[in-house]
């Protein structure tokens, strides 16, 4: 179980049977359709592509999107916080989908939705206009005179605006004021807002202003405006309304209420439409999928009578394809071949249910090359080891295990979430194991000062604890570095395995085995600087180091030209600038594993600190115990969330950067067979 063997397949079928054949292949979901001219470049002048129109699908999708848009606007689906965190597509039974497809009257629903949408847009426009008019009028709400009266004056001209009190005083004293004019303060309050709103710069913001209504004979209008303008007067254009501003505002507010009531009416009608949300989503999924099926045909090409379809199929699915062709398409001729390295076949991975959850991590990094191997089973133990150390706590592990089991139960049909929950289940178990080994249960909540002398949990934890990372951090640090070192060796061994799979024995020996010789020797030599190392061990280390170094110097430059060039490259490769690895990379990558200790300490110390803080509340009379428990619950949930995130991210990083860096090469694309494919829903046959 690993990377599935892939075959490339070419189907020659009568042009008239193509669509039916594609539908059957789509139903089976066993063949990935690829561009025919990628495989048969020289057939371009003999075959031609068929013009495919997706107009029908696009039209239906457009109609459904309009309905769903309206439904989401007025009757959005209520989702809990958890559902919001991990939205899932709709689960659809194929029979139910067929039933909806045949019996659901989308046309009628669309007609209702379209009418409601049109009406809503009209109301929305009217609402916008009314609100804008209200916004314009509201600063003049207290203007006392019927505005239309000021416009119908025959023998006078009126100018209305704002002016600061200071300027008004100077205006009254000026001799420039035309003789045939008069002015009057209208409403002293709320002028500043008008000035700012209407004339921005001329409003003299921040100074006390007032409204002024000035009148003059027609021949004095220009002189009046000039005199006012020179004193900072800001003219306000009176609105084209009948009656007072206040009356107009009242009328507009009445209109606004009516419009809003009409919107409520639309919302009520849309709520009735929302009752069919599931049907709309199902139909959306159907048309999305149908569109892709149409487009799949554009990958093929045809001559006068024959259509050519190309693609890839898993070797194990070939009998299924043969059955289909023999039964329903006897005139179709299949041609199955082994893929060549130039074909770049897609990668399909089959794993046992136990290992399958870890594939998620591999997919995040990228699928392996077809000619190598799937690393999923190999990273499973390392991921769980890292996670367990970083998060090690019996109680947190139990919480994670229970939570994962619950999510698994609820999300079985959703492969992605289900597998993630299953991975977390394993991680939870690893956390419990390391919690016992590191002596952590909600930090030190089992301690005698919290749960009494010689309590059961205390005895259990003491019996299982191997080391306390807070008391002996150096030992745990060395253990973390040791894990890092062995993980590096493990990675190099996998590199050798990968090279051997490709038949490259030279790479397995030179870029794998020789590093496995030099690195342990190097570690023994370094260890001598910090701790006593028995002489025989030290000499073995020296021997390994120099043997490995000699081998690497002679082989790492094997692709360089000239003896000197080869030797120079070999020497430099020991450091790590060139070549497949290097002692600096070995040291750097190994040191990175010290984060295992840091994260382990983080989980433990934060838990311990929360216990300590909660413990301070316990002596409070009457409510102390309750406060102690409440603070503990909140604090430990918080620490659980923060620490689980850190443990996951850093374990993933150690695998992606320090471990995959040793051996893993991505670059292939996943196998995507033609089949039901929609973002809105997934097909799930009900039990």
């Amino acid at each position: 179980m690993a990377i599935d063997l892939m075959k490339k397949v070419t189907l020659l079928c009568p042009v008239t049977a193509t669509q039916r054949l594609l539908k059957e292949l789509h139903a089976l979901g066993i063949m990935e359709v690829t561009d025919v001219f990628e495989r048969y470049e020289d057939a371009r002048d003999k075959l031609s592509r068929q013009e495919i129109s997706t107009e029908v699908c696009d039209r239906e999708l457009q109609r459904i999107n309009l309905i769903l848009g309206l439904v989401d606007l007025f009757a959005p689906e209520k989702k809990s916080f958890v559902q919001g965190l991990a939205p899932v597509p709709l689960l659809v039974d194929p029979q139910e989908l067929n039933r909806v497809k045949e019996k659901f009257d989308l046309d009628a629903q669309y007609k209702i939705a379209e009418d409601l949408d049109t009406e809503y847009r009209r109301i929305e426009r009217a609402l916008g206009e009314t609100e804008n008019r209200l916004k314009d009028l509201s600063p003049l709400e207290t203007f006392p005179v019927a505005v239309d009266k000021l416009r119908r004056l025959r023998h006078y001209r009126v100018v209305f605006g704002s002016i600061s009190r200071q300027n008004l005083v100077s205006l009254t004293r000026t001799a420039e004021m035309p003789a045939l004019s008069a002015w009057e303060e209208v409403v002293p309050a709320a002028v500043e807002a008008v000035g700012n709103g209407k004339k921005g710069s001329g409003a003299q913001a921040g100074k006390e202003s007032m409204w002024v209504l000035a009148a003059c004979l027609p021949e004095a209008e220009d002189a009046l405006r000039k005199a006012l303008g020179e004193h900072g007067f800001v003219e306000i254009i009176l609105p084209q309304i009948t009656g007072t501003v206040q009356e107009q505002i009242k009328a507009l507010e009445g209109d606004l209420d009516e419009l809003q009531n009409r919107v409520k009416g639309i919302a009520a009608k849309v709520a009735a439409l929302a009752g069919h949300r599931r049907e709309f989503l199902m139909l959306k999924a159907f048309w999305e999928d149908n569109r892709k099926l149409f487009l799949a045909r554009t990958s093929s090409a045809h001559g006068k009578w024959i259509q050519v379809l190309t693609g890839f199929i898993r070797e194990r699915d070939i009998p299924q394809m043969d059955d289909l062709l023999n039964k329903y398409f006897p005139t179709v001729t299949p041609c199955v071949e082994d893929p060549t390295p130039e074909d770049n076949p897609p990668v399909s991975i089959t794993l046992s249910p136990f290992v399958r959850p870890i594939q998620m991590l591999v997919d995040l990094f990228g699928r392996p090359d077809y000619k190598t191997f799937d690393p999923s089973p190999f990273i499973m133990p390392t991921f769980l080891l890292f996670f367990g150390i970083c998060f090690g706590d019996v109680a947190y592990g139990t919480m994670l295990t229970v939570l994962s089991l619950y999510i698994m139960r609820k999300t079985k049909p959703y492969a992605g979430i289900y597998n993630f929950a299953r991975l977390m289940l394993y991680a939870g178990i690893a956390t419990i194991v390391f919690g016992f080994l590191l002596g952590s249960l909600f930090g030190d909540l089992y301690a005698e000062k919290y749960l009494g002398e010689n309590n059961l949990l205390y005895r259990l934890m003491m019996a299982t604890q191997v080391i306390d990372p807070i008391q002996k951090p150096i030992v745990v640090l060395l253990a973390a570095l040791g894990i890092g070192m062995f993980n590096q060796f493990y990675g190099i061994a996998l590199k050798m395995y990968s090279a051997l799979l490709r038949g490259d024995k030279a790479e397995a020996l030179c870029d794998g085995l020789l590093w496995l010789v030099i690195c342990p020797g190097f570690v023994i030599m370094i260890a001598k600087m910090f701790a006593p190392v028995p002489a025989p061990v030290f000499y073995i280390g020296l021997l390994l180091f120099f043997a490995g170094a000699l081998g690497l110097i002679l082989t790492q430059g094997r692709e360089s030209s000239g003896l000197v060039g080869r030797l120079m490259t070999g020497v430099i490769s020991l450091y790590g600038i060139v070549g497949s690895y290097g002692l600096t990379s070995f040291i750097g990558d190994t040191m990175s594993y010290c984060r295992l200790l840091a994260l382990s300490l983080t989980t433990a110390i934060v838990a311990l600190s929360f216990n300590m803080m909660a413990g301070l509340l316990r002596p409070i009379p009457y409510v102390g115990l309750i406060l102690f428990v409440v603070v503990l619950i909140i604090a430990h949930i918080f620490n659980f969330l923060i620490s689980v995130l850190g443990a996951f991210v850093h374990s993933m990083r150690l695998i992606f950067v320090e471990f995959f860096g040793r051996f893993y090469a991505t670059g292939s694309r996943p196998f995507e067979p033609l089949g039901f494919d929609s973002k809105s829903a997934i097909l799930h046959r009900q039990q």
Binding site: G84, L85, A86, P87, L361, D363, L364, F365, P473, I474, L477, S592, C594, R595, L597, A598, L599, L601, T602, I605, V606, L608, S609, M612, I642, L645, G646, V649, H650, M652, R653, F656, V657
Partner: protein, 168 residues
Amino acid sequence: MDQSLAIEIGRGLAIAGAGLAVGLGCCGSGKGIGIASQAAAGVISEKPDLFGQLLVMLALPGTQGFYGFITAIMIFMRTGLINGAWEASASVSTGVALFFVGLAVGLALFVSAVWQGEASAAGIALVARRKEESGRALLFPAMVETYAVVSLLAGILTIIWLTSIGVA
């Protein structure tokens, strides 16, 4: 110097160092989360379905605050402050050393949290365009956090060593 005065000065400096570690760490985390939140809010306004994935990304710079907290607690624990007794290593020089440990760890946490926020924002922009890249996008801020982890570890070890052997 009077022994009791030396203890008082040492205690004050150690507490100041703890305060700096937690203060700078929390300030950095606040700023980092703020940067990531601005990016996430913009994306969620258009694509609310990404909330779950983005929540993880914007929570990442929050860990530095806790690293600062751990440093502070370690100083309190190892110097006996929590038990009300300045016993572990009662000297001015230990206090000075702990002050600078707190300061250095705090600075590293502050800077790394801010940059982690920037890296998270970049990752959020990536997820907004390509939802399937959420796993890889998570790695960018995780790379920045490495150095917060290193400073925390160095800080913890230094605190343990300082308070175990004392400083002459």
